[in-house]
Symmetry: C2
Subunit: 194 residues, 2 copies
């Protein structure tokens, strides 16, 4: 079965509604019927479009989550720059919603956990590796350092996102973006410098 342009709008509406539902309630509590109602569509159509609830989840999370390139930034301002990029990414309309729903669903959905593991294990680590002093290439203790830095950075970013977007832990939960950046910047910088 193939779909035509005739149902494109409906399928997009379902996908948008699914992102909202998964981001708000997590995978388990989000219902196919609820998504369908929100999209103004019959529940059976959701299954026809995306085969199953799992398929719907997969489609809803199939979006490019690549970290924006950091570019040439003075070493002492990398923390602030990175913090800015992350807030940008998490507060962004599409990527932010997907990241939030992944984070909210990860504790109970192995698929979501896999996705998060992939994003952070590879992307964050690669970024940390790039930032390391090139003169130290080949240093035997380098991998341990890189491991610790990327682990700390991943943890801190994940924790901030969890506190701000999922748990709404004060004061991060309803802080302005620039306040979040001001909080994150020095910490990220410290993790990278150590």
């Amino acid at each position: 079965m193939a779909f035509t342009a005739r149902s494109q709008a409906a399928r997009d509406a379902v996908l948008a509604a699914a992102r909202r539902a998964f981001a708000t309630h997590g995978f388990e509590r989000a219902t196919v019927r609820g998504v369908a109602a929100d999209a103004g569509v019959d529940a059976s159509m959701v299954i026809r479009y995306y085969t199953s609830k799992d398929g719907l989840f997969e489609a809803a999370t199939a979006i490019d989550l690549a970290l924006p390139e950091l570019g040439p930034v003075v070493a002492s301002e990398r923390g602030a720059a990175l913090a800015e990029r992350f807030v940008e990414l998490w507060d962004g309309p599409d990527t932010g919603e997907v990241l939030t729903l992944l984070l909210r669903s990860a504790p109970t959905s192995e698929r979501a956990a896999d996705r998060i593991r992939d994003v952070f294990s590879t992307q964050v680590r690669v970024m940390v590796e790039r930032l390391v002093d090139p003169r130290r290439t080949g240093d035997p203790g380098l991998q341990v350092i890189t491991d610790r830095r990327s682990a700390a950075l991943s943890s801190y970013i994940l924790g901030t996102a969890l506190a701000r977007y999922v748990l709404r832990l004060p004061p991060l939960g309803d802080a302005r973006p620039d306040e979040v950046i001001a909080t994150m910047g020095p910490v990220v910088q410290a993790i990278l410098d150590r």
Copy 2:
């Protein structure tokens, strides 16, 4: 209806099984029937004991989560000391299980989120306040500083716990406790010093 010592063992078994189930699957996916089977008890007895699934969850999380007192520690070693206490608490047999299940359930259970908000908003903040330089008491900018430090510390701790105990993000997921402490120590120290 009151319970006697006769059913004490069964009620304890149910509670232990509930902690396991909630910590493994989260609130939604954990089933009363599964808990009952694991405890070697009929599902209806679980309800009789704890009224409802919500009541069971509440009973399973009713445990003292107080942070251990830090005591007099040289300022420069507070990071390592704090990191050690946290790993101790999270790796502990009872508290660790409850913390894990709270973290895993928080994204979909408002009750669990409330509990976490309480623990981190109050306990962590109070601890950070105590560590602040006493000479600066009354400083107008002090609250902002304290806010940011406790926010960063809470985020980092939450993120580390999420990465290690829920997502099992490498390399933290299966690292030895001393490796976790070695990673956390400097970061915590940096957050407190800034």
